[in-house]
Amino acid sequence: MKIAVLSGKGGTGKTFISVNLTYVAENSNYIDCDVEEPNGHLYFKPEIVKREKVYAKIPMVDKDRCSGCRRCVEFCKFNALAYIKDNVFVFEDICHSCGGCMLLCPENAITESDKDIGEISEGVFNNSTIYTGILNTGEETGVSIIKKLLNNIGDEHYTFIDCPPGSSCSVMESVKNADYCILVAEPTLFGVHNFNMVYKLVKLFDIPFGAVLNKCLAGENPAEKFCIENNIKILCKIPFENELGKLNSNAEIASQIKEKYHSLFSSLLKSIEQEVMNETAIDIKR
């Protein structure tokens, strides 16, 4: 059962919520898909059992076989190749690793080399498995790392997917095979505006979802208003508490430290389980 936690706006509490849900669920998996700025590992400090580098394929031209036909240069939609003084130049930072030049070279003069773009690690914390992906600084996109992270994750236990902020290709990649989505909102105008963007995204993907309202203060909550107006199920309201903020800022797992937070997240997990069961029932009826 894959549960993606996303928000649109950054800083609403995706990591806080996915980390704590992982803690209260038995034998769960946690996957940090925010490969540009992964934070979950700071909370778990997992014991690493496996590390794997992630590579992007970059073309390499064998000068002896190259006939100078320039088919590769003309084909590349990203203009990552240039032909100067009988040499093909490859611009690595522009190359999208599509493999087209290699496929189309009539002389088979192009092979591919691996460029290190990041890493995946697998670790253990209590009875949970923690997967972290990290993109090397200077690299443009971590989509291939996210794909690798989500490969081969079983369905027997709960897997909580901590998504990147926004609603771009990285988020889509993190969410697309999820069974259920938790949309995290904070009670600000910014929060609601961006919440709307991920709300559209989960509807587009037709993935069942519910909202968690985080950092709730007294007074009017624009995020709550939005959920009510759009008939979005509110799974839980987490109050803004200095104590919680402090624990979180020290990368401590609140449900591990304080019983009241353990209860809060256990209830949230139960609500999610209920929602997922309802969705499955609806699906069966269909």
Binding site: F78, N79, L81, I84, F89, D93, I94
Partner: protein
């Protein structure tokens, strides 16, 4: 990545010095300039990679021809593609207000010297070049790395 850039720049500087020594402006030269319109009395374009046209001026024949810049509409890597066009059209010199690092690498590899424009009039820049009043373009800006714009 930073080291690579320093090396590239240092290498480039050496090539400039070599070609500046070797290139006497009285030699026959084919000069490329990114331009806004197909008219020698017009303006130099503020961008290199996405200039609408390139003008090639032949010093011996005192003639210029214009081509469309097919790199202008590229999603990314426009500077590289534009530099390829300059190379393919046998330019010896490029006079431009600015140039990105990837494009500069292409031009350097082809031994094309890059000069910086003084004002935005094509004719003035050609005159300045002949009178050796133009300086080499030394500030190669960080390219837009595939997301280029003017």
């Amino acid at each position: 990545m930073i080291c690579k850039k320093i090396l590239t720049y240092a290498g480039y500087k050496n090539i400039i010095q070599l070609s500046a020594y070797a290139a006497n402006v009285e030699d026959i030269m084919r000069i490329a300039i990114p331009v806004d319109e197909k008219n020698i009395k017009g303006n130099v374009c503020v961008s290199f990679g996405r200039a609408p046209y390139f003008m090639f001026y032949d010093t011996e024949k005192d003639k210029s021809d214009f081509i469309n810049n097919s790199a202008a509409n590229s999603q990314g890597g426009a500077g590289i593609k534009a530099a390829q066009i300059i190379v393919d059209n046998n330019a010896d010199v490029l006079i431009t207000p600015r140039c990105g690092d990837n494009a500069a690498e292409v031009l350097k590899a082809a031994y094309i010297t890059i000069y910086k424009t003084k004002n935005n009039l094509i004719e003035d820049n050609l005159k300045n070049f002949k009178e050796e009043k133009l300086s080499l373009l030394t500030e190669i800006h960080e390219g837009f790395h595939g997301h280029g714009v003017k």
